[in-house]
């Protein structure tokens, strides 16, 4: 059976998608996991579903709607918890469900063709367009430049904000920019991994890396590698088994986490016995 043009295009798209997803998720995910923002990121993801619904309703690209909602909800949580004194976790919980509710309402109000909800909730490689891949590619470059140029500044603000304020007046600006970039990263990865599963794409790879390294920069590098192995493998399984791609990627990543955990445990045990 020779590969036809359709299959060739599909493989290239999948490969590039896996590369860019693992770069963006690795960079954003290491920040999210280190700074314990996993719940906030989950909130951003689900709130952005409201943007997807409105996007369909008014007939613009749903990803643009999701991006606007994602960034607004990230900054909205900050506003509600700092300025309105609402508990941060409650603010996240409210925006989380509110975004989902808006999304469902507007998708049902959209006349004519209704999009496949499953593909947005659990991811589908078939709906990923060339524009999505290009957007993820641009996002990869932006994140590499951002974290590369401002590495120390971002690391130190994220580690100890109070101390950072004693020498820098840029603390809030960096926090807002970083959170917005994370929201965009999440939104751009929704097509492939789905609203429900995208957060694991950010959180599992850094947790795999943290099993054997504690240096921030190395966690980023290993997250990207682990993320690529997970997405590429999950993608392949999804293609041959006909299962939603988001689910197979997350499943593969968890298996990798378990395997690495086992290897680290064995290596420690053996090196202890040698001593």
């Amino acid at each position: 059976m020779g590969a036809n043009i359709f299959q060739y295009d599909f493989i290239i798209k999948g490969l590039l998608g896996a590369v860019f997803a693992s770069i963006t998720a690795g960079l954003a995910g290491t920040y999210v996991v280190s700074k314990r923002m996993v719940f906030l990121s989950g909130g951003i993801t689900h709130a952005s579903f409201g943007g997807i619904g409105i996007g369909y309703f008014i007939g613009i690209n749903p990803v643009i709607g999701a991006a606007v909602f994602g960034i607004m909800s990230a900054l909205g949580v900050e506003y509600l918890s700092v300025k309105q004194k609402i508990r941060e976790d409650s603010a996240i919980g409210i925006l989380w469900a509110f975004g989902m509710a808006i999304g469902i309402i507007f998708i049902y109000l959209t006349p004519g063709y209704t999009p496949n909800l499953m593909s947005y909730l659990f991811g589908s490689i078939l709906t990923v367009t060339n524009a999505d891949i290009i957007a993820l590619g641009i996002m990869s470059v932006v994140l590499i430049l951002y974290f590369g140029i401002f590495y120390r500044t971002i690391l130190y603000i994220s580690f100890d904000e109070v101390f950072a304020r004693t020498y820098s007046s840029y603390v809030d600006i960096f926090k807002y920019i970083t959170t917005s970039l994370i929201a965009l990263t999440i939104v751009l990865n929704i097509r492939m991994a789905g609203v429900v599963l995208v957060i694991s794409l950010l959180t599992i790879p850094p947790n795999i890396a943290m099993l054997f390294t504690k240096v921030y920069f190395r966690i980023v590098v290993w997250s990207v590698i682990a993320g690529f192995i997970g997405t590429a493998t999950g993608y392949t399984i999804s293609y041959f088994a006909g299962i939603p791609v988001g689910a197979t990627i997350i499943f593969t990543l968890v298996i990798i986490w378990v395997l690495v955990k086992g290897v680290v445990y064995l290596v420690k045990k053996i090196s202890k016995q040698k001593n």
């Binding site: 280190s34 120390r152 994220s158 100890d160 109070v162």
Partner: protein
């Protein structure tokens, strides 16, 4: 002797609440001043003003030009500010003390890293450069944060409740270290733990809304030791209160 900074009839407030009122205070090059007073009396606010985190509501704060241009202030905050589970190494934390003189896009040079390793050795953390905080004891963590405060060779070192780090076994070493550092820099230490620190402190500032400065001859270590039992210090202010000497 050259002064490092001077406060003239300075007041500070949060929203409507005045925390410090009419403070006149001057710190000189080789000072080692203990700042004592009740919780909520304005001790930490005093440090915030010096660090520029809070603008004075009225009055004047003048820095010595050298201190200002060299950005020569080291700061050891209270324990709670950094996340001890954060994936950042001892060397990187100490290096962050140099950020005050760097731009937002700077990395660290080979010399910066050598300097960090010297500080690590000086503070008895040899071999722990690549450890993270959750692998260290309380006393070791305290030394890491002290390293971050002194890596830039500041002229003025601000310490906020260093006694909160616990670890009594290291306490003596820590205060010995401060005495060493006092040969190169002025130290301003906020503490409620007067008993243990008093042997190295040269003078006291009692802060409770207002600030009363006590030169060395007023409360000397000999005065405190003469009793041989727990003693009490009375501080000034609208709410007079006592400070207990450290006891078992």
């Amino acid at each position: 002797m050259a002064y490092l900074f001077e406060m003239q009839s300075l007041s500070a407030s949060y929203d409507a609440a005045t925390v410090l009122q009419n403070v006149n205070f001057k710190v000189s090059e080789s000072d080692f001043i203990g700042v004592i007073g009740p919780n909520g009396g304005g001790k930490t606010t005093l440090l915030k003003i010096i660090l520029g985190l809070l603008k004075p509501a009225s009055g004047k704060l003048t820095f010595n030009n050298e201190l200002l241009t060299e950005k020569s202030i080291g700061y050891l905050p209270q324990m709670s500010t950094g996340d001890i589970n954060y994936p950042v190494t001892v060397r990187d934390i100490i290096l962050s003390g140099l950020m005050i003189r760097k731009s937002i896009i700077s990395g660290m040079s080979v010399n910066d890293k050598k300097k960090a390793d010297m500080v690590i050795d000086e503070l008895g953390l040899t071999g722990m450069a690549n450890f993270t905080l959750n692998e260290l004891s309380g006393g070791q963590m305290q030394r890491v944060f002290l390293g971050r405060a002194i890596i830039g060779d500041p002229k003025l070192l601000l310490l906020d409740e260093p006694g909160n780090f616990v670890d009594t076994t290291f306490e003596n070493d820590f205060y010995e270290k401060l005495r060493d550092l006092n040969k190169r820099m002025a130290i301003l230490m906020v503490s409620h733990d007067v008993g243990t620190i008093s042997s190295h402190i040269k003078s006291f500032a009692c802060v409770n809304r207002s600030l009363h400065y006590h030169p060395s001859n007023e409360i000397t270590n000999e005065d405190l030791l003469a009793y041989g039992c727990p003693i009490q210090l009375v501080t000034h202010g609208e709410v007079p209160h006592t400070v207990l000497k450290y006891h078992q």
